[in-house]
C-alpha cells in the first residue's frame, strides 16, 4: 500500500468510524477527527521528506485495477507537481479540524463531512486516473455545499449556498464532459493519466478536437477556481461559510482546477493550450485588477479576504498561461503558498467573528490590544498576501512575473501593479482599521486564543508559510523537473510556438539561478517583520 493511500484513506476511514459514535460523545468525535487529520498531515510530511526530486516517473505509486472494460484503475502517485499540494492539503486539513471548535451544533455531521472532504481532496490530488481524479473531487465538493448551507452564517446564507452549488456543479460537470471527451478522443482506451500522456506523445490529438476540449476544461475548471468572470460565487460563498470549510475550500479544493489544467490540459492539448494562452492571460487581468478593485471597496473582512483570494488566482492563471518553465513552476508554488495563506486568513477571520459576532470593518478597531496573538498573525497573513519577501507567496509571484514577462509584458506590468499597489492598499487599510486605532468599548471582553491547542492551527500555517518563504528550494527543486516535462510536451508539439517562447528555454535556468540567489538578501532585507512575528509568537507561547 502506498503512503498516499493512507494519507487520503485515514480521514475517510475516520468519517466511517464517526457514523457509529453516539452524538453526545463530543470530545471523542472531535478527537477522532483531529487525530485522523493529524496522522494524514504527519504522513504527508514524511512523504514530502522522502520524495526524491527529479526522479524519473511517479513516486509512491500504487495501482489497483477497478473497471477493466473501461480502463479505470485506482492509481495514485506523486511527482513534483502534486507533492507540495498534498503536503499543503494535509496540513490545512489538520488546521481546519483544529479550528472546528467554533462549530457548536450538530458536530457529528460536521466532522463527518469535514473528513470526507479532506479524504476526497487529498485523494483527488494523489490520483493519476482521470475517473478517480474527478470522482474524488466531486466527493469533496458536495460536503462543501452542505456545510455552507447548514453551518453558514449571516442572512445571505441560503442565497450563497444556492449560488455556490449552482456555479460549482456547473463547473464540475462541464469539466466532466471535457474529461470524457478527452478520454474518448485520446484513443488510448484507458483513464490512466500517465498512459494517456504516453499514448498522446505518439498519437497527438487532432487540433480541432483539442480546440473543442480545451475550452471545456478551461472554463469548467475555471469556474471551480473562480476565474474572472465566473468568480462571483467565491467572495460571498466564503463570506458565509463556516471557517473550517472556507479554509479547506479556498485553500485546497479550489486548487484542483488549476492542478487539473497543468496535469491534464497542458500536456494533452498542447496546441490548444498555446492558442488559448493569451485568452487566459487577459482573463487573469480581470482577476487581478478588477477583483482587486472590488476588494478595495469591501466593508466586510471576509468579503475582502474572499475577493483577495480570487485575485490571487489570477497570478496562478498568469503562470499557467506563460507556458514556460518559470511560469508553471511559479504557478505551482503559488498554489501551495496560497493554500496556507487562504486557510490562515479564513481561520483568523473566523476567530474574530466568533469573538465579536461581526466582520464589518467599521465596527472593529484596535483589536491588536485585546487579541495580540490573533492580531499579529493577521498582520503577518496580510503581509504575505501583499507578497512580502520572507513568505512563500513572494517566491511564487516573483517567479510567475519572471515567467510571464517574456510572453505578456503588458499584462505582467498590469499584474505587478495589481499585486503590489492594489493588494498593498486593501490589505494595509484593513489592518489599520481592524487592528489599530481606538478600541470600541464593546470589545473590552474579547479574549485571545488561550491555549496551545487554540493557537496551534494559526501557528502551524504561519510556520509553513515562513518555512517555504525562507527555503523555497524545498519546493522548487521538486517542482522544476516535472514542470519541465510538462512545458517540453507543450512546446515540442507546438506548431504555433512564438519565437519568444523558444528563446525562453535556454534562459530558464539562468533566471531561476537569479531568483535563487536573490533569496538570500531578500530574506535578510526584512528582518524586522519576521523577528517581530517570532517575538510575538514567543511571547504568546509562554
Amino acid at each position: 500500500m502506498s503512503i498516499l493511500t493512507y494519507i487520503a484513506g485515514w480521514p475517510l476511514l475516520a468519517a466511517l468510524a464517526l457514523i457509529v459514535v453516539p452524538r453526545n460523545y463530543r470530545v471523542i468525535i472531535r478527537a477522532i477527527a483531529v487525530l485522523a487529520t493529524l496522522i494524514s498531515a504527519v504522513l504527508a510530511v514524511k512523504m514530502f521528506c522522502q520524495f526524491i526530486p527529479g526522479a524519473n516517473g511517479f513516486q509512491f505509486e500504487q495501482q489497483i485495477s477497478w473497471v477493466e472494460s473501461l480502463g479505470i484503475s485506482y492509481h495514485v502517485g506523486v511527482d513534483g507537481l502534486n507533492v507540495g499540494l498534498i503536503l499543503m492539503g494535509a496540513i490545512v486539513a489538520f488546521a481546519a479540524a483544529l479550528c472546528s471548535w467554533e462549530i457548536q451544533t450538530r458536530e457529528k455531521e460536521f466532522y463527518i463531512l469535514l473528513l470526507v472532504m479532506t479524504g476526497g481532496i487529498l485523494g483527488a490530488f494523489a490520483s493519476l486516473d482521470l475517473f478517480f481524479f474527478y470522482f474524488l473531487h466531486e466527493l469533496a465538493l458536495v460536503p462543501t455545499f452542505i456545510m455552507i448551507g447548514v453551518w453558514g452564517r449571516g442572512e445571505k446564507k441560503n442565497y450563497a449556498t444556492f449560488q455556490i452549488t449552482l456555479y460549482l456543479s456547473i463547473g464540475a460537470l462541464i469539466a466532466l464532459i471535457g474529461l470524457i471527451a478527452l478520454y474518448l478522443q485520446s484513443g488510448a482506451n484507458t483513464f490512466d493519466i500517465p498512459k494517456i500522456i504516453e499514448h498522446a506523445k505518439t498519437n497527438p490529438l487532432a487540433v480541432n478536437a483539442q480546440n473543442f476540449i480545451f475550452p471545456l476544461l478551461l472554463f469548467g475548471f475555471g469556474i471551480l477556481v473562480s476565474l474572472w468572470p465566473f468568480h462571483s460565487w467565491a467572495p460571498l460563498g466564503y463570506g458565509v461559510a463556516p471557517s473550517p470549510t472556507a479554509m479547506l475550500h479556498a485553500g485546497v479544493l479550489k486548487k484542483f482546477g488549476l492542478y487539473g489544467l497543468i496535469r491534464i490540459a497542458l500536456p494533452l492539448l498542447p496546441q490548444a493550450a498555446q492558442s488559448w494562452a493569451h485568452v487566459i492571460a487577459w482573463l487573469c487581468v480581470g482577476n487581478i485588477l478588477y477583483v482587486g478593485w472590488v476588494a478595495m471597496r469591501q466593508k466586510d473582512l471576509n468579503l475582502l479576504i474572499g475577493n483577495s483570494s480570487v485575485a490571487h488566482m489570477g497570478f496562478i492563471f498568469l503562470g499557467i498561461a506563460s507556458l514556460n518553465l518559470i511560469g508553471v513552476t511559479g504557478a505551482v508554488l503559488i498554489m501551495v503558498a496560497h493554500g496556507f495563506l487562504a486557510a490562515l486568513t479564513f481561520a483568523l477571520s473566523g476567530y474574530i467573528y466568533k469573538q465579536t459576532g461581526t466582520l464589518q470593518i467599521s465596527e472593529l478597531g484596535g483589536l491588536c490590544r485585546k487579541l495580540p496573538f490573533i492580531g499579529t498573525a493577521l498582520l503577518m497573513a496580510a503581509m504575505a498576501g501583499c507578497g512580502l519577501p520572507g513568505f512563500a507567496n513572494f517566491w511564487g509571484e516573483a517567479t510567475v512575473f519572471f515567467g510571464a514577462w517574456k510572453m505578456f509584458p503588458a499584462i505582467t506590468v498590469i499584474a505587478l501593479w495589481g499585486a503590489l499597489v492594489i493588494g498593498g492598499i486593501y490589505m494595509t487599510r484593513a489592518i489599520r482599521n481592524i487592528l489599530h486605532g481606538p478600541l470600541p468599548e464593546k470589545w473590552d471582553l474579547l479574549s485571545d486564543a488561550s491555549n496551545v491547542w487554540r493557537k496551534l492551527p494559526y501557528a502551524l500555517l504561519l510556520v509553513s508559510l515562513l518555512v517555504f518563504g525562507f527555503v523555497p528550494k524545498l519546493l522548487t527543486e521538486k517542482i522544476n523537473p516535472d514542470a519541465q516535462k510538462i512545458v517540453t510536451m507543450v512546446m515540442s508539439q507546438g506548431s504555433t510556438a512564438a519565437p519568444a517562447v523558444v528563446i525562453s528555454a535556454p534562459l530558464t535556468s539562468s533566471v531561476l539561478a537569479d531568483v535563487a540567489s536573490a533569496k538570500a538578501p531578500a530574506a535578510g532585507a526584512l528582518p524586522e517583520t519576521v523577528s517581530i512575528g517570532n517575538r510575538q509568537l514567543a511571547i504568546e507561547n509562554k
Binding site: W66, V67, E138, T165, I170, L176, I180, A181
Partner: protein, 483 residues
C-alpha cells in the same frame, strides 16, 4: 420454466387467500418472497433455466444475456416490492392482501415474458398482462378516492396507448407480413424500399407511442405524476421500476433487433425526446410538495436519462442504460420504502411529513438522503456511475458520428442534473432542517423492513463503488442485443 413457475406461484397465492386466516396474511407475502428467492437462484443455473440461451415457440420467445439480466432485475425488484407490500398491508382493504400479492406476481410474469419477447404478438400480450394487472394494482385502495382516480386515469390513457400500439403492429404486419423481430429485420434488409414507406414508419412510430407510455417519456408522460401520487406506495414503486424496465427492454428489442435500419435514421428524434423528457421532468419537479408526486416527475426525468442510452445508438449506450436501470431499482426502492414507512400514518405524502425524521429514525433519514443523492448523481453512489456511463456513451457517439446534437444532448442532461439538485436537496433539507417537527415519536421498523432497506443501501453503494461485475454483465447483455 421460470415463467410457468411464477404463474403457478401467483395461482397458489390466490388459493392461499381462501385457506389462510386473515391475521396471518402478512406471512403469505414472506412465503412468496422465499419462493421467488428460490426461483432467482435456480434461474441462474441448471437445466431448463433462463441461463440456457436459445429461442422457443418458433422464435417468439428468446433467452439471451439481455433477457437474463432483465429477469433477474425483475425478480429482485418484485422481492423488494413484496417486502414493501407486507409493510403496507394494513392500509389495504380488509382481507385482500393475498390478492394484492398474487397480482404483483402476475405482473411479474408479464415482465418476464416481456424480457424474452422476440415477436410483436408476444410484445403485445406481455405488455397487456402487465398493464391490466396494474390497472387493478393502482386502484387497489378502494376506499381512497385518489387511488380510484389514479386507476381511472391510468386505465383511460393506458387503453388509448394500447390501441395505438395494436394499430401500429397491424400496420407493420400489413406492410411487411412479418411479426417476428429477427424475420422483420431480415425482411427490411432485403427490401429497403419498405423501410422507407410512410405506412410502415407510421406503424413503428405508433408502437413507440405505446412503449413511450410505459416508460413515461415525453410526450406520453402526463399520467405519471397523478398515478404515482394516487397509487398505493408499493404499486408506485413497482410502476416506477418494473413497468419502466419492461418498457425499456421492449424498446431496446424493437429498436435494435426488429427495425435497426429505421432506428439509425431516427437519431435526432430520439435526441429530442430524451432532451425534452429530461427537462420536463426536472423542471416540473421543482414546485412539488407531495413526495410521491415529486418522485413521479423525477421518474420522468430518469426516463429521459435512460433514453440517453437509447439515443446513443451504440452498444456502450445500451450497456450504460442497463447499468443505470440496475442502480435505479435500488435507489427508487429505498426512497419509496422510506415513504411507505414514514407516511403510513399520515393522510398525505407532503414533504413536511419528513420533518424530524433524523430524530425519529436515523436509518430511514440516512436511507432517503442516500437515495436522493444517488438520484441526483453524486459520487460515490449508483446514480453517479450510471450517469457517467450514459454521458460517456453519448459523447462517444457524438465523436463517432459528428452529430452535434449529441453534444447538446449531453449539455441538456447536465443542465437537468443541476436542476435536479435543487429539489432532491429540498427533500434532504426537509428531513434534517425543518422548523418544528410536529411528531417526534420514533418509528418502529420490523426486521424484514430493516433487512430490505439494508439490501437497497448495499445495492446503491455496491453499484456505485464496485462497478466492475455489473458492467461486465451489462456489456454482455448489450452484445446479445446487437447480435
Amino acid at each position: 420454466m421460470l415463467e410457468i413457475s411464477v404463474i403457478g406461484l401467483g395461482l397458489v397465492l390466490l388459493l392461499a387467500d381462501l385457506f389462510v386466516p386473515a391475521e396471518r396474511r402478512r406471512f403469505v407475502g414472506y412465503a412468496a418472497i422465499v419462493a421467488l428467492g428460490v426461483l432467482l437462484v435456480t434461474s441462474l443455473s441448471g437445466n431448463g433455466s433462463c441461463g440456457q440461451f436459445g429461442t422457443a415457440f418458433g422464435g417468439m420467445f428468446v433467452n439471451d444475456a439481455l433477457s437474463l439480466f432483465f429477469k433477474q432485475l425483475f425478480i429482485v425488484a418484485v422481492i423488494l416490492v413484496l417486502f414493501m407490500a407486507a409493510e403496507f398491508s394494513d392500509k389495504l382493504a380488509e382481507g385482500s392482501v393475498a390478492e394484492y400479492y398474487s397480482l404483483i406476481i402476475f405482473a411479474l410474469a408479464g415482465m418476464l415474458f416481456a424480457a424474452s419477447s422476440n415477436d410483436f404478438t408476444m410484445l403485445f400480450v406481455s405488455i397487456e398482462l402487465i398493464t391490466i394487472t396494474f390497472y387493478v394494482l393502482v386502484s387497489f385502495q378502494r376506499s381512497k378516492l385518489q387511488s380510484l382516480e389514479a386507476g381511472v386515469k391510468y386505465l383511460i390513457l393506458g387503453a388509448l396507448s394500447s390501441s395505438f400500439m395494436v394499430f401500429g403492429i397491424a400496420l407493420i404486419w400489413g406492410t411487411t407480413g412479418e411479426l417476428n423481430f429477427d424475420n422483420l429485420s431480415h425482411f427490411l434488409a432485403q427490401n429497403p424500399e419498405v423501410a422507407t414507406s410512410q405506412l410502415f414508419l407510421l406503424g413503428v412510430l405508433l408502437v413507440l407511442v405505446g412503449l413511450g407510455f410505459k416508460i413515461a417519456a415525453f410526450p406520453f408522460q402526463i399520467w405519471a405524476p397523478d398515478v404515482y401520487q394516487g397509487a398505493p406506495t408499493p404499486t408506485t414503486a413497482f410502476l416506477a421500476i418494473g413497468s419502466k424496465a419492461a418498457g425499456f427492454v421492449l424498446l431496446l428489442r424493437v429498436l435494435f433487433t426488429a427495425v435497426p435500419s429505421v432506428t439509425a435514421h431516427w437519431a435526432n428524434l430520439l435526441i429530442v425526446i430524451s432532451a425534452i423528457t429530461i427537462l420536463y421532468g426536472n423542471l416540473c419537479a421543482i414546485p412539488q410538495r407531495n413526495l410521491k408526486r415529486l418522485l413521479g416527475y423525477s421518474s420522468i426525468a430518469q426516463a429521459g436519462y435512460l433514453l440517453l442510452g437509447v439515443a446513443a445508438l451504440s452498444a456502450s449506450g445500451q450497456s450504460a442504460l442497463l447499468y443505470y436501470l440496475a442502480g435505479y431499482v435500488f435507489t427508487v426502492m429505498a426512497a419509496l420504502f422510506v415513504v411507505t414507512l414514514v407516511m403510513r400514518q399520515l393522510p398525505t405524502e407532503d414533504i413536511g411529513g419528513l420533518a424530524g425524521l433524523n430524530q425519529r429514525s436515523p436509518l430511514l433519514a440516512a436511507t432517503l438522503t442516500i437515495a436522493m443523492v444517488s438520484l441526483a448523481g453524486i459520487p460515490p453512489l449508483a446514480g453517479f456511475f450510471g450517469k457517467f456511463l450514459l454521458l460517456k456513451a453519448v459523447i462517444e457517439t457524438a465523436q463517432a458520428t459528428g452529430n452535434h446534437g449529441y453534444y447538446w444532448l449531453a449539455f441538456i442532461a447536465l443542465a437537468g442534473v443541476i436542476i435536479s439538485l435543487y429539489y432532491y436537496f429540498g427533500v434532504i433539507r426537509a428531513i434534517y432542517w425543518s422548523k418544528q417537527p410536529a411528531d417526534l415519536s420514533p418509528i418502529e421498523l420490523s426486521s424484514p423492513a430493516r433487512l430490505s432497506i439494508w439490501v437497497c443501501l448495499v445495492g446503491i453503494f455496491w453499484i456505485g463503488i464496485f462497478p466492475n461485475t455489473l458492467l461486465n454483465i451489462t456489456n454482455l447483455a448489450a452484445v446479445a442485443l446487437g447480435r
